[in-house]
Amino acid sequence: MANVTIDNVIKRYGSVQVMHGVSVDIEDGEFVVLVGPSGCGKSTLLRMLAGLEEISDGTISIGDRVVNDVLPKERDIAMVFQSYALYPHKTVYDNIGFPLKMAKRSQSEIDDKVTKAADILDLTKYLKRYPKELSGGQRQRVAMGRAIVRDPQVFLFDEPLSNLDAKLRVTMRIEIKELHQRLGTTIVYVTHDQIEAMTMADKIVVMRDGRVEQIGSPLDLYDNPDNVFVAGFIGSPSMNFVHGKIATEEGVRVFVSDSGLKLPLPETTARDGQEITYGIRPEHIQIGPGGVEMDVVVVEPTGSETQIFAKAGKDLIDALVKERINARPGSKLGFVINPADVHLFDRASEQRI
């Protein structure tokens, strides 16, 4: 087990710079999730950690050792690929035992560790099978078994659940989290799925275009997003954004959108006339009297909750409520917003105010 330090890492392909000074500190035993849209550089960063991509500038350390020029096989890491990367010509047993065989361990030790890993992952029945004969979830577990037997300092996961169906993804999510609690090894996990990030991580690193946008615990990111990107990326359904200005009307400070919609404001240092992006999460909106009147566009009942899309002028607002609401498109509903739940961002810089 070890902590990992990524310090001001830069990646260039020829003259194109794709990673612009990324720094992340990962504590020993922490479950860190790198999340962001595709092309944000999260997989590249993970591959640099693994030693599969060279680092153009900056340093990466595992434990106290700078590993910039250390070969993948000498970094004491294990990695699980999105495609599982199983060896198709080897049985499950040989797949899991391969790292030990490469490390020239004794046959009895290999036997012992493979059996133990198979037991943990419920693969004992399948040890003699080939990858082709396994389901997606079983292959995923074989890939994890191959990582476990090495007892590495750090586990790296590269979108390991993307190829599984939705139901299995939930199960495997729990299994990976359980595994982490059991082994206590540092994990760096890449995903584009913010729900995976929220449910599994001790710490989330949100990335965009080769930069770190924000680092924090899942709830920290949810409650206090640093900027519009993080606010929109974390949380599902994603936050409503309305563009407009701050004004004072009859002694009360309000937010007035570009199309004239008036919304309540929390205490803020923003001055009158300042251009603002106003953010409110769908689940923080209540339906009831005394709210802002809006025209219902679409109602989506899911049983446990109801999602309502409504319009006022050009502004589209999305609300998610527990109650079942029978509203017809075109009818009017009152949207109640508690000012404490509102996030304000500067419109130009997109940073939190």
Binding site: A50, K73, A78, M79, L86, Y87, H89, K90, P99, K132
Partner: protein, 291 residues
């Protein structure tokens, strides 16, 4: 039903051709192999002689010798072609200046007829006029005469075959290497495998089907090599390069011994099938379960 009939109609031309040029001649050769037949002798009749030809062949030193040199030739040629072909394939997987031109030039031998290859190599290796003996003598003081030295003749033929057929191996191996997924190789690096271990544990098993297919093709081709050798050495000096194909040719054409020649052909076909089958069983059959 219609699609089934259409299938047969589309297949018919191939079946007809296969029947007249494959199946029929095969059974005819088997038929002839049980006869004594010399159509140009005083008595051109085909005379049934049972298993006499087969009995004779087992104790025929010339035939056994030809099998021996053929096996040696096939072994040296195919193994060299595989090793060289793999190295070239790996080289072509990387980028280097002039790659496209080099790759085109490197496949040129494939489009040359064996008889031409044999003639060209004969020109190059004939003592006193050939470029190879000339420079071997001038630079290293080595005298090379494929007309008198059996090892020189044998080595030259192996070299000629390697020159002619390595590009085929390269092309099939490139196709196999290109189609491999990259992930298992990166995984193996992380799992602690070095370059050599990756080759033996990952690359080779994953391209094994292509390697075996290539060996099949080269094995069958090499076992029936005639024309190049006929042009270059005529099977000599003595019987040093008298491969089994050349042996059959000499038995059938100069000696017009059709019955016995057919018997040798049948035996060689049998040996070819058996060796390919063994190769298949040892290399590929265990895979069918996992593919």
């Amino acid at each position: 039903m219609q699609s089934k009939r259409l299938g047969w109609i589309l297949l018919a031309p191939t079946l007809v051709i296969l029947f007249f040029f494959g199946v029929l001649p095969f059974f005819y050769v088997v038929f002839v192999s049980f006869h004594s037949w010399n159509p140009f002798a005083v008595n051109p009749e085909m005379v049934f002689n049972g298993a006499d030809n087969f009995r004779q062949i087992v104790f025929d030193p010339a035939f056994l010798h030809s099998i021996g040199v053929t096996v040696m030739f096939v072994f040296f040629a195919v193994v060299s072609e595989l090793i060289l072909g793999y190295i070239l394939a790996q080289a072509f997987m990387r980028d280097f200046p002039g790659k496209a031109i080099f790759r085109t030039i490197h496949t040129l031998p494939l489009i040359m007829a064996p008889i031409i290859v044999g003639s060209v190599w004969k020109l190059m290796t004939t003592p006193s006029i050939g470029i190879i003996p000339h420079y071997l003598d001038e630079w290293f003081g080595i005298t090379m005469n494929i007309g008198t030295s059996a090892p020189a003749a044998f080595a030259t033929i192996v070299l000629m075959d390697v020159w002619h057929w390595t590009p085929l191996v390269t092309l099939t191996l490139i196709a196999a290497l290109v189609s491999l997924p990259p992930d298992p190789f990166e995984q193996a690096q992380i799992d602690g495998a070095g370059k050599r271990q990756i080759f033996w544990h990952i690359t080779l098993p994953m391209i094994a089907p292509a390697v075996v297919a290539t060996v099949f093709i080269r094995l069958m081709d090499a076992l029936r090599t005639v024309d190049e050798v006929w042009m270059l050495t005529g099977g000599g000096p003595g019987s040093a390069t008298r491969f089994v194909g050349v042996h059959i040719f000499k038995e059938v054409f100069p000696k017009t011994n059709y019955g016995y020649g057919s018997t040798i052909s049948v035996i060689v076909l049998y040996l070819t099938i058996v060796s390919c089958w063994l190769l298949y069983v040892t290399m590929l059959a265990p895979r069918t379960k996992r593919d």
